[in-house]
């Protein structure tokens, strides 16, 4: 099966800084590809390359086997890449359904078709297990987990084949983190969407990941299926393995 999205030798430089070097990895539909790495490992740069904010300096991005070149986030969105950023890109004072359709509103003649937008919002959120009693309530009244779900539901509804989740659990309380993981699992069960789950939480990655890719200092440190990776040792790999061991010896001295 062709991977839904595949990177071949992607590099990105900012002046003399090598942000990404020779990155190759893939994500397949119906699978969660966990992208792990410490702060500064290049996760954000990689996401920005995938979602059209940056253009890679070397290498190729392939979607369903076809090479693509994104010049803007709009290009990436049109190609089926849905990115859910950490800060979510939501408007706290606007209603749930207005947020859902912001920038892609449905109009009937001159005016917004609120009935349709409310109905779609309710249905799509329902598919991910959130019952929205009132789609016209301000989004500020929803929990952080529910807002993540809204951003995910929105990306899927507008045709995402690849769903990129940027640290979706990091800003949330413990209970809401689990809510989001449940949502991610539900999206995986649809089996038509490739999920790239960016995190530095090894427990979450272990819980939900089917494939693991480790980034360290702009390079791939390890990459493989769940069976090929020592999932009990995720934390070590993420911290760069050796460094953690070094620290351990240092503390013992």
């Amino acid at each position: 099966m062709t991977p839904t999205i595949q990177l071949k030798g992607v590099s990105k430089f900012f002046g003399n800084i090598i942000a990404l070097k020779d990155i190759s990895f893939e994500a397949r539909k119906g699978q969660v590809t966990a992208l792990l790495g410490d702060n500064g490992a290049g996760k954000s740069t990689l996401i920005k390359c995938l979602s059209g904010v940056h253009t890679p300096d070397e290498g190729a991005i392939l979607i369903e086997g076809e090479p693509v070149r994104f010049r803007s986030p709009r290009d990436a969105a049109a190609a089926g890449i849905g990115t859910v950023y950490q800060d979510l890109a939501l408007q706290p004072l606007m209603s749930v359904s207005r947020n859902f359709f912001l920038g892609r509103e449905v109009s009937k003649g001159m005016f917004l078709d609120m009935d349709t937008m409310n109905e779609v919002t309710r249905t799509e959120m329902g598919k991910l297990g959130i019952d929205v009693a009132d789609p016209e309530q301000p989004i500020g009244t929803m929990s952080g987990g529910q807002r993540q779900t809204l951003a995910i539901a929105r990306a899927i509804y507008f045709g995402a084949k690849v769903l990129i989740l940027d640290e979706p659990t990091s800003a949330l309380g413990q209970k809401q983190q689990l809510e989001v993981l449940r949502t991610v699992n539900q999206v995986r069960d649809r089996s038509d969407i490739a999920i790239i789950f960016i995190t530095h939480n090894d427990l979450h990655a272990k819980l939900i990941g089917d494939r693991f890719t480790f980034l360290n200092r702009g390079r791939i440190l390890a990459d493989g299926e769940r069976t090929e990776i020592d999932t009990d040792n995720l934390r070590n790999l993420m911290a760069g393995g050796v460094e953690l061991a070094e620290l351990e010896t240092e503390f013992k001295q």
Binding site: P73, R74, A77, Y85, D87, L88, A89, L90, Q91, P92, L93, M94, R98, L102, G103, R104, E105, S107, M110, F111, L112, G126, G129, I130, D131, A133, D134, E136, Q137, P138, G140, T141, M142, S143, G145, Q146, E179
Partner: protein
Amino acid sequence: MASNDERLRQVSLARDIVSRPELGSVFGLIIIVLTFMSLTSISGTFSAMWTNPIGIQAWVELAAFVGILAIGAALLMIVGEFDLSMGANIALAGHSFALLLIFGVPVVPAIFITFCELALLGLIIGTIVVRTGLPSFIVTLGFWFASRGLAVFLSQTLVNQSRLSVTEQLKPPAGGGEDPSLIDNIFAFDRAFGLPFDAEVYYFAILVVIMALMLHKTRYGNWIYAAGGDPQAARAVGVPVNRVKISLFMLSACLACLLGILTVMTSGASDPKAGDFRELHAIAAAVIGGCALTGGYGSVVGAVLGAFIFAIASRGINFVPFIDNNLFRVMLGLLVLGAALLNQFLRNRVLKT
């Protein structure tokens, strides 16, 4: 499936009412009306202010004048910007219109040209704001000086006058031919139809309906809220934030233009002091009406109510001789502060209920 957060309550109807941005100004209007009804009763001027047509005209026409600007001020505040140049642009538009008439341009092209000039001015202001990233407060403060200065400079250089009388140009010519007063009557149509109020009252009513519908029922209105609420988030989903902002600066300049031309048509002259301080009155009306200075929150209807509060307090004080006129400014200041506080309280409630 039940809601995953048991702390969410069903508060639909109650919250709908409480979360309206204009709720504070509804209370404010009721209080102001009751206050001035009692005060005028005490001083025996109740009928002069509330039933006499001239008394009613006094505050309704002021409300319309300030209200037309307040529509622009409110929309700009919702998108997170200010326009301090609105009042000065009234004088600039009036002078431009009057100068065109003096130089023999017929009324209709003069109106058209003046609107184009002011739209261009709004385009320039808006472009400076979005391109430089300077606060619009500073940029439009610059134009607060520049617009009125330009108006007076042009009129003094070209016709050596700072107050421009155009009663001759607006009169029908003696030998027949095109009658400018006919156009005058179509644009400033109150006299043509024998309507009780000045034309700006009807323009105001029409503009309120159009702008309120635009703001709440169209995609453009949705973008205004989003561009003001969180511009980065709005850009991320493809909202053309800069274009929305520039278009509203153009609208604000055009509203000032409408008032400038109407004033010249009604009074037969363009005064360099026309519209002085009106931008602050309009912003006060928008604030009283529930617009957040931080953007993303507010309504046109609230600004309209704010304009009525301002006008009733402003004109009403003349009907109450036992209160010093200067006290009016103190009262207005407290009103703006009180309204801002109440609105902040209500806004926080929206997010909590």
